[in-house]
């Protein structure tokens, strides 16, 4: 559940907007996940989270607000600058699930991929995959718009 990409452009003007592009991408991914998430489906996992052996709870909760949990997962999606000009969009591994010692990334992976008892919902990886496949187009459009190479009407086509 991560997107790793590298901007190969040598143009200084283009390189100066890479961080803005990452932020734009992260906020788009976040809103896309929140718009497409099926809270009812996720609520079926509530019991399994409470009873799971791999979440170390400080005090076992009676109930989990899945909407808050999804918001927490989505808020934990970050873009990290890696070495050699690479960037990575992923769920932050250092964020801990409240009232536990387990990282939120692990919970996100469970809800997304499932395990040997529960089916995955793919609510994050589906969106990540979509953005990963189109990242070149997004970058081209973003550069063109930010650096005023083309106008909005040329980027957006209404069918």
């Amino acid at each position: 559940m991560k997107i790793i990409f590298k901007i190969t452009s040598k143009d200084k003007e283009e390189l100066s907007i890479v961080n803005d592009f990452c932020n734009m991408l992260v906020s788009e991914i976040k809103s896309d996940i929140l718009n497409n998430v099926n809270y009812y489906k996720l609520s079926l996992y509530e019991d399994s989270l409470i009873k799971s052996s791999w979440i170390i709870w400080k005090r076992t909760p009676r109930k989990i607000d899945m909407k808050k949990l999804v918001n927490l997962i989505v808020d934990s999606i970050v873009c990290t600058n890696l070495r050699k000009g690479r960037h990575m969009i992923s769920v932050d591994n250092s964020v801990i699930l409240p009232n536990s010692y387990t990282s939120i990334e692990r919970v996100a992976r469970f809800l997304d991929r499932g395990n040997e008892l529960y089916n995955g919902t793919f609510f994050i990886s589906k969106i990540f995959m979509k953005y990963q496949k189109r990242i070149n187009d997004y970058w081209k459009s973003y550069v063109s718009l930010r650096l005023r190479k083309i106008t909005v009407s040329e980027v957006v086509t209404i069918v």
Partner: protein, 207 residues
């Protein structure tokens, strides 16, 4: 001639390269249940499971075969002295899959994953058979490619049976974006009913 044909093609290919008949399109939560059913309650690892994560129509990619389709074959039945033209229509789509490798040791898991990645990186083309109901029933063959995503996840840490015996699980996603939703239609030859009226002759009242 729907999406399941692509599932079958992938399963067939995996069974061929791994020489194992236990490969099925099955979500992760049913892997052990299915393995136990096949092997009389003994679960033998390693195992590979594939689940289809969904499919989407490639709406931005119009295709000429969407409406009328293309003429696939002309079948002539000598017994009834009839002709039949089979047209094949297609709508482009992409299908997403998730592949899980389950093993008892991490080393074995890494090795199987490596082999699969190398194999499909160098042989990404698979063959799907599209039956279209011709007389001799020779299916139409369509080639499609599968592409692995770059991210391989180690999901060994979210298993529920952790304390009852360890096993390891790695997950990789792959997709095909040159798949098609197929439909075949057959029709007889186009016939024009011609009524010739010769000038000066009276019209035949029976017609």
């Amino acid at each position: 001639m729907s999406v399941y044909k692509y599932d079958e093609a992938i399963v067939r290919d995996l069974r061929h390269i791994l020489q194992d008949n236990r490969i099925h399109i099955v979500p992760p939560e049913n892997v052990f249940r299915l393995l136990a059913r096949i092997d009389k309650d003994t679960i033998e690892l390693p195992a590979v499971s594939i689940s289809r994560r969904g499919w989407s129509l490639s709406g931005s990619r119009p295709h000429t075969m969407k409406f009328d389709g293309t003429l696939l074959v002309h079948v002539k039945d000598d017994d009834t002295n009839t002709d039949k033209y089979v047209n094949l229509q297609a709508i482009p789509m992409s299908i997403m899959y998730q592949m899980d490798v389950w093993t008892k040791t991490r080393e074995e898991n890494d090795n199987i994953m490596r082999e699969l990645i190398f194999y499909y990186s160098t042989h990404p083309t698979l063959n799907v058979e599209i039956p279209y109901g011709s007389k001799d029933n020779v299916p139409y063959h369509h080639k499609f490619n599968i592409f692995f995503m770059e991210d391989i996840e180690d999901n060994s840490d979210i298993v529920n049976h952790m304390n009852r015996g360890e096993y390891f699980r790695q997950t990789i996603s792959f997709y095909t974006d040159d798949a098609y939703l197929w439909k075949s239609t057959s029709r007889g030859p186009t016939v024009i009913d011609v009524d010739v009226l010769v000038k000066g002759e009276p019209r035949d009242e029976n017609n």
